[in-house]
């Protein structure tokens, strides 16, 4: 009986500890990123489907802290062609270049790591990703940093946002 009570109490404590541990993994940086097909999210409904099928902590979006993840997702804009704009300040603040690449690849905009200023470069993979898309002619790829899609084919000044060519 006493052993039973002891086991039950330790069991409850252990359960609490386990729950706590897994809750905290959402904020951890995963060491490796799962390969994702590029551009699988092209609309708000694609995004909702993806989010409901993917744990919050799963990379690549789980590489962001919960606040940053929420800010990034709530500032995405879409039209029939796909993503028309996104904010990059949280990618800039929390991720390396290759991690940002993985996040943007979900939306088919991985090439924009070349125009996001000051992405962190830590590994050779980061360097490779940046140089892969670095525009050589200086004109960029037509996606306009510090602007957002204001109306059809028009970009308006909006800090740390990219107005994409889908606008």
């Amino acid at each position: 009986m006493k052993l039973g009570v002891l086991s039950a109490m330790l069991g409850i404590g252990g359960f609490l500890f386990t729950a706590c541990s897994s809750a905290n993994q959402a904020g951890a940086i995963a060491p490796a990123q799962a390969a994702q097909p590029s551009g699988i999210i092209r609309s708000q409904s694609d995004l909702q489907r993806y989010l409901s099928a993917t744990p919050d902590s799963a990379p690549p979006l789980g590489l962001l802290s919960s606040g940053a993840r929420q800010r990034f997702l709530s500032n995405l804009t879409f039209n029939a062609a796909g993503v028309t704009g996104f904010r990059y300040d949280d990618l800039q603040n929390e991720l390396t270049a290759s991690q940002a690449y993985s996040v943007l690849a979900l939306f088919g905009f991985q090439q924009d790591i070349a125009i996001i200023p000051h992405l962190r470069v830590v590994t050779s993979e980061d360097k490779r990703r940046i140089s892969e898309f670095n525009p050589v002619d200086g004109d960029g790829n037509g996606d306009y940093p510090n602007y957002a899609c204001a109306s059809r084919a028009t970009c308006a000044p909006h800090t740390s946002t990219i107005c994409t060519h889908n606008c």
Binding site: K2, V5, L6, M9, L10, I12, G13, G14, L16, F17, C20, A23, N24, G67, R71, S74, N75, D89, Q92, I115, P117, H118, D137, G138, D139, G140, N141, G142, D143, Y144, P145, N146, Y147, A148, A150, S151, R152, A153, T154, C155, A156, P157, H158, T159, C163, T164, H165, C167
Partner: protein, 314 residues
């Protein structure tokens, strides 16, 4: 004896349970601990406000006014040398980011001063970041404080932004534009005569839709000639379009060479600094405006605007 032994066992069990729960909760609270939330919470509210304000009315002047007021209310109390010394490093970065957002829309002296205060405190603590130095440098350039920008760049030689070697001022009256010479290190400020430049296109070499508009106009002889004779391609002062980018653009597109607006406030007739927007003038006043350049183009609207502005026969 057995009664006493039972009590001891219950105490041991209760003690172990309490210890496990306490350790667990302590571990949880330690891992999930957040620093005092006031500045972060204020920043998050300001960040959300900026997003809402933009979605409500993205026209530049209206947005600047709302952001300026909100920033002053929320952050003025922190932005003094004494107050900054009392905040943590992470909060100091958030204060810099808030000032940077406010500067972005207002390009105001007081937000530039706040950026400089925050940057000085970050450097005093030895926790400055290159990315933030780049932002301050870009803000100095956008404010057209070229001498200060040059001095800042000398202190921080790793900065990647535009290097400005020489700036000359040949302007007599507003509005003025900044011409980029050579590869972008030499700049010249000049007055713009709206009676000569009767089409002003707010545009940028970095903007997909501006690029597309230029290609369409170049391919159309009628429009190409009208734009060659009357258009000024005007780049908004911003932190993205570098002088060297415009210099490269101008080499490739001499008929659609771009110039920077010197300061937005010199151009009160430009109410939208979106790209591309085509303003058509007659007798110094805007008489037509064409916004955006989708895949199908806006040639019909441009031709109509040319007629309204009397740049072609009615």
């Amino acid at each position: 004896m057995s009664y006493g032994s039972g009590n001891v066992s219950r105490y041991v069990v209760a003690y172990l349970f309490a210890a496990v729960v306490t350790c667990t909760l302590m571990a949880c609270s330690h891992r999930q601990a957040v620093r005092p939330a006031s500045i972060e919470a204020t920043f998050n509210r300001f960040y959300e406000f900026e997003g809402r304000a933009y979605r409500g009315d993205p026209t530049t002047l209206a947005l600047a006014s709302r952001i300026r007021n909100r920033y002053r209310t929320d952050f003025s109390r922190y932005q003094t040398s004494d107050a900054l010394r009392t905040v943590g490093n992470d909060d100091l970065v958030l204060l810099f980011r808030a000032a940077d957002i406010a500067f972005f829309y207002t390009v105001s002296p007081f937000t530039l001063r706040d950026l400089q205060l925050d940057s000085a405190e970050l450097h005093r603590r030895g926790v400055a970041r290159e990315a933030l130095d780049e932002r301050l440098y870009a803000a100095l350039i956008e404010s057209r404080h070229f001498a200060e920008a040059q001095a800042f760049a000398r202190l921080h030689p790793s900065l990647q932004g535009d290097s400005v070697a020489r700036v000359s001022d040949r302007s007599r009256a507003a509005p003025t534009a900044l011409l980029v010479r050579g590869r972008g290190a030499t700049l010249e400020r000049r007055s713009v005569d709206i009676n000569k430049n009767r089409i002003v296109v707010v545009s940028s070499p970095l903007c997909h839709f501006s690029q597309h508009a230029v290609r369409s106009i170049e391919a159309d002889q009628f429009l190409r000639e009208r734009f060659r004779d009357h258009a000024l391609w005007l780049v908004p002062p911003d932190e993205s379009t570098t002088f060297s980018t415009v210099a490269k653009w101008n080499q490739v597109h001499p008929n659609e060479a771009m110039q920077f607006a010197y300061r937005r406030e010199e151009w009160p007739m430009i109410d939208r600094w979106e790209t591309p927007v085509f303003y058509f003038f007659r007798n110094g006043r805007v008489v037509a405006k064409v916004i955006g350049w989708p895949a199908a183009g806006r040639k019909a609207e441009i031709r109509r605007a040319l007629r309204i502005s009397r740049l072609v026969d009615l």
